[in-house]
C-alpha cells in the first residue's frame, strides 16, 4: 500500500516452467527419449519432401532388393536408389516407413488423447461425485468385460461404409480406427484416476478449499487434477503404445486401412511370413514402433518427475 511495501513487493519470481525444464534436463532417459521423438516426428513429417519416392509405386523388376548395409558386404541384389531395400512387390521400404509412420503416429497420438480424455473424465466424475460413482464404474466394468477385437470388428463392419461415404476413404477409416481404439481403451485410466481422486478427495486441503467456497468445478481443476497427473501421465505413455499396436493388429486382420495404405503395423505383418529370408523388413518397422513407444515412456517418466515439486526440490 505505502511506497515502501510496494518497492519491497517487487520480488522477481522465476517462471516455474524454467524449474520444470531444469528438472527434466536432469533425467537422461527423458532427454534422449525427447530427442528421439523429435527425430522420428521430423522423419515422418519432413521425410516425404527429402525422399521423394512414391511408396505405392510397384516396381516388379526391382523387387526383393536387400538394404545397402547387407549389399556392401555380401553378394546380393541391392541398389543405392533403394537404401533400405524393397518388398516383394518392389515398393520402397524407406518410403513406406515414412508414410506408414505418419499414419501410425497420428493414430497413436489421437487415440491416446481420446482415451485419456474419456478415462480422466469418467474417473474424475466417478471419484468426485458419489452419486455417479456406482453407475459409471459398473459401466466401466461392462466395457472392460467386452472382448476388444470382436467389438472393433463389428464397429468396422457397421460404420466403415457410412464413414467412408461421408469423409472419403482415408479420413473415414482414420476416424473409425481412432475412435474405435479410443473408446475401447479408456477403462484402466478411469479406474486409476477414480481411485486416486477418492484418496485425494479426503485430504484436508480439499476440505480447506470447501471452507473457502471453491465450487466443485474449480476444485477439480485446481486441486484434484494436478495431483493425479502422475498416474494419468503413466497411462498416457502406455496408451500410445497400445494404440499403435492395436492399429497394427487391426491392419493385420484386414480391417484397418486399405491394403495399399502402409502403416508401421501393416508393414510389419506383411513381412512376417518371409521374416527368415528378409529380416530387415520386420526389424525396421518393429524398431520404429518400439523406439517411439520407449521414448514416449521415458518422456512421461521425466515429465512426471519434473512436474512434481517435491522431486524438483523447490
Amino acid at each position: 500500500m505505502t511506497e515502501t511495501t510496494q518497492t519491497q513487493g517487487t520480488i522477481p519470481v522465476r517462471n516455474q516452467w524454467w524449474d520444470v525444464w531444469d528438472q527434466f534436463k536432469t533425467h537422461r532417459g527423458a532427454v534422449i527419449g525427447g530427442a528421439f521423438l523429435i527425430f522420428i516426428t521430423l522423419f515422418v513429417l519432413v521425410g516425404p519432401y527429402l525422399w521423394q519416392v512414391d511408396a505405392q509405386k510397384l516396381d516388379i523388376r526391382n523387387k526383393d532388393l536387400r538394404p545397402f548395409y547387407i549389399g556392401l558386404f555380401a553378394d546380393v541384389k541391392w541398389s543405392w536408389s533403394r537404401p533400405l531395400g524393397t518388398d516383394h512387390l518392389g515398393r520402397d521400404i524407406m518410403a513406406n516407413l515414412i508414410q506408414g509412420g505418419q499414419i501410425s503416429m497420428a493414430v497413436g497420438w489421437t487415440a491416446m488423447i481420446l482415451s485419456l480424455f474419456l478415462g480422466t473424465l469418467i474417473g474424475v466424475l466417478a471419484g468426485f461425485f458419489k452419486r455417479l460413482d456406482g453407475i459409471l464404474m459398473r459401466f466401466t466394468d461392462l466395457v472392460l468385460s467386452l472382448p476388444l477385437l470382436p467389438i472393433l470388428l463389428v464397429m468396422m463392419l457397421l460404420f466403415r461404409d457410412p464413414l467412408r461415404a461421408a469423409f472419403g476413404p482415408e479420413t473415414g477409416i482414420f476416424i473409425l480406427i481412432v475412435s474405435g481404439i479410443g473408446i475401447t481403451s479408456w477403462m484402466h485410466t478411469a479406474r486409476i484416476v477414480r481411485g486416486d481422486i477418492l484418496a485425494i478427495k479426503e485430504r484436508e486441503f480439499v476440505l480447506a478449499a470447501r471452507s473457502i467456497g471453491t465450487p466443485p468445478r474449480r476444485m477439480i481443476t485446481r486441486h484434484l487434477l494436478p495431483n493425479v497427473m502422475s498416474p494419468i501421465m503413466v497411462s498416457a505413455t502406455l496408451g500410445l503404445a497400445s494404440a499403435i499396436i492395436t492399429e497394427s493388429a487391426l491392419s493385420f486382420l484386414g480391417l484397418g486401412f486399405p491394403s495399399d495404405f502402409p502403416t508401421w503395423g501393416k508393414i510389419l505383418f506383411d513381412s512376417v511370413d518371409r521374416m527368415a529370408s528378409f529380416p530387415e523388413r520386420v526389424i525396421w518397422p518393429g524398431l520404429c514402433i518400439s523406439l517411439t513407444v520407449l521414448s514416449v515412456n521415458y518422456i512421461g517418466d521425466g515429465l512426471r518427475d519434473a512436474l512434481d515439486p517435491r522431486i524438483r526440490g523447490l
Binding site: 500500500m1 511495501t5 513487493g9 484436508e204 486441503f205 476440505l207 471452507s211 473457502i212 467456497g213
Partner: protein, 352 residues
C-alpha cells in the same frame, strides 16, 4: 472471574446442533444406525472472545467445528453466524457467506495442496471471492505473509519446503485473506512441537488483537486452552458437559468429567506432582453409535447416582455464566455454592 461480559453480543449462536453419521451394513447396505458424533450442542461465541473447546479424542470436537462452518450437512439444529442461519442456507448463499468464517486446520502438511505455491495457496480465497487485479492480489498476499511472519521471498515456493510451524502460518494467512470475523481453529497446534506451539498461539493472539477476530479454539491441550481462551467448553461423547469462564472452570470445575480431565494435566513442579491426586476414570468411552441411556458419562462417573442412568441431565446455569449438565448440581442446588466454595478452597491448598 466473570470476565465473559454478558453485555457483549454473540457472534455465533449454536442451538441444539446435531451431527449424525449414518452406518450402513449388511448385504443390502441398509441403514442400521448412526454415529452421534455431535448430539445436541448449544453454545454462544461472543464477539472478540476465544471459546476453547476441549475434550478427549473422538468426543466430537472437530466434527462440531467443521459442522459450524457447514463443511458437513448438519442433521439438526441451527447455527447463526453474524445473524444468518448457516445450517439452512442454500449452496450459493453459503458461498457468499464463506468469507466471514474461516478455518485453520490441524495438520499443516495435509491442509496445503502440495502442487500449489504459497502464493497460489494464500491467493485462492481472493480468487474465489474478490475481483482484484493480479497485482493487487500479489500485494495482498505479501501483506498477509508479513502479518503471519513469513518472508516474502518464500511466495514462489511449495509447501514441502517449509517446517511445520511455517506451514501452519501459511494456513493462517489463507484463513485471514478474506478478513473473516470468525475463525475455527481445529487443533492448530496439535501437530507442532512445543516451542513452535507457543509461537503459533502467540501469533493467533496477536492477530486477534490486530484484526478483532473471534476464535473457536479446539484443542485437547488443557494448559494451552487456559492460556488462550476466555471461556471454555468441555465436551464428552458429543455433548457439552460444562461451559464456563476460564478461571471459574479451572478453579472450580462442576462436572465430574471436567474434574477428572483437569486432574490429568501434568504439574511441572515435581514436588507438587507427587501430591497431585489423579482421578482415574475406569473403562472406555462408550461408542457414539450407542450412547448409554441417561447421562452419557454415567458408565464412568465416580459420583454416579441412580438417576444418572435413567434421566439425561439438562444444562443449567449453576452459577452466573457457568453452565453444567449434571444431576449432582440439580439435587444439591442449595448446597451447591457451599460445596463448590469448599472445593475451591481445596484447590487453592493444592495450588500452594
Amino acid at each position: 472471574m466473570l470476565d465473559a461480559a454478558p453485555s457483549k453480543k454473540p457472534l455465533v449462536e449454536v442451538r441444539n446442533l446435531k451431527m449424525h453419521f449414518p452406518i450402513y451394513a449388511g448385504l443390502l447396505r441398509r441403514r442400521v444406525g448412526e454415529v452421534k458424533a455431535v448430539d445436541g450442542v448449544s453454545f454462544d461465541v461472543f464477539e472478540g472472545e476465544t471459546l476453547g473447546l476441549v475434550g478427549e479424542s473422538g468426543c466430537g470436537k472437530s466434527t462440531c467445528g467443521r459442522a459450524l462452518l457447514r463443511l458437513y450437512e448438519v442433521t439438526d439444529g441451527s447455527i447463526t453466524i453474524d445473524g444468518v442461519d448457516i445450517a439452512a442456507l442454500s449452496n450459493n448463499a453459503l458461498r457468499e457467506k464463506r468469507p466471514t468464517m474461516q478455518m485453520v486446520f490441524q495438520d499443516p502438511q495435509a491442509s496445503l495442496n502440495p502442487r500449489m505455491t504459497v502464493q497460489a495457496i494464500i491467493q485462492e480465497p481472493l480468487d474465489e471471492h474478490t475481483t482484484l487485479s493480479t497485482k493487487e492480489k500479489q500485494q495482498k498476499v505479501y501483506e498477509l505473509m508479513d502479518a503471519v511472519g513469513l518472508n516474502r521471498r518464500f511466495a514462489g515456493r511449495y509447501p514441502h519446503a517449509f517446517s511445520g510451524g511455517q506451514r501452519q502460518r501459511i494456513g493462517i494467512a489463507r484463513a485471514l485473506a478474506l478478513n473473516p470475523k470468525f475463525i475455527v481453529c481445529d487443533e492448530p497446534i496439535a501437530a507442532l512441537d512445543v516451542s513452535i506451539q507457543a509461537q503459533v498461539v502467540n501469533l493467533l493472539e496477536d492477530l486477534q488483537e490486530q484484526f478483532g477476530l473471534t476464535y473457536l479454539f479446539i484443542s485437547h491441550d488443557l494448559s494451552m486452552v487456559r492460556h488462550i481462551a476466555t471461556r471454555v467448553a468441555v465436551m464428552y461423547l458429543g455433548k457439552i458437559v460444562e461451559l464456563a469462564p476460564r478461571e471459574a472452570l479451572y478453579a472450580a470445575p462442576l462436572h465430574p468429567y471436567t474434574e477428572a480431565l483437569l486432574s490429568a494435566v501434568p504439574e511441572p513442579d515435581p514436588s507438587l506432582e507427587a501430591k497431585v491426586e489423579r482421578i482415574i476414570l475406569q473403562g472406555d468411552v462408550p461408542s457414539p453409535a450407542n450412547p448409554p441411556k441417561g447421562c452419557n458419562f454415567c458408565t464412568r462417573c465416580p459420583k454416579v447416582m441412580d438417576i444418572c442412568r435413567e434421566v439425561e441431565p439438562a444444562t443449567r446455569e449453576v452459577r452466573p455464566g457457568h453452565f453444567a449438565a449434571c444431576h449432582l448440581h440439580e439435587i444439591t442446588s442449595q448446597t451447591a455454592g457451599a460445596t463448590a466454595a469448599q472445593r475451591e478452597a481445596n484447590e487453592r491448598q493444592h495450588g500452594e
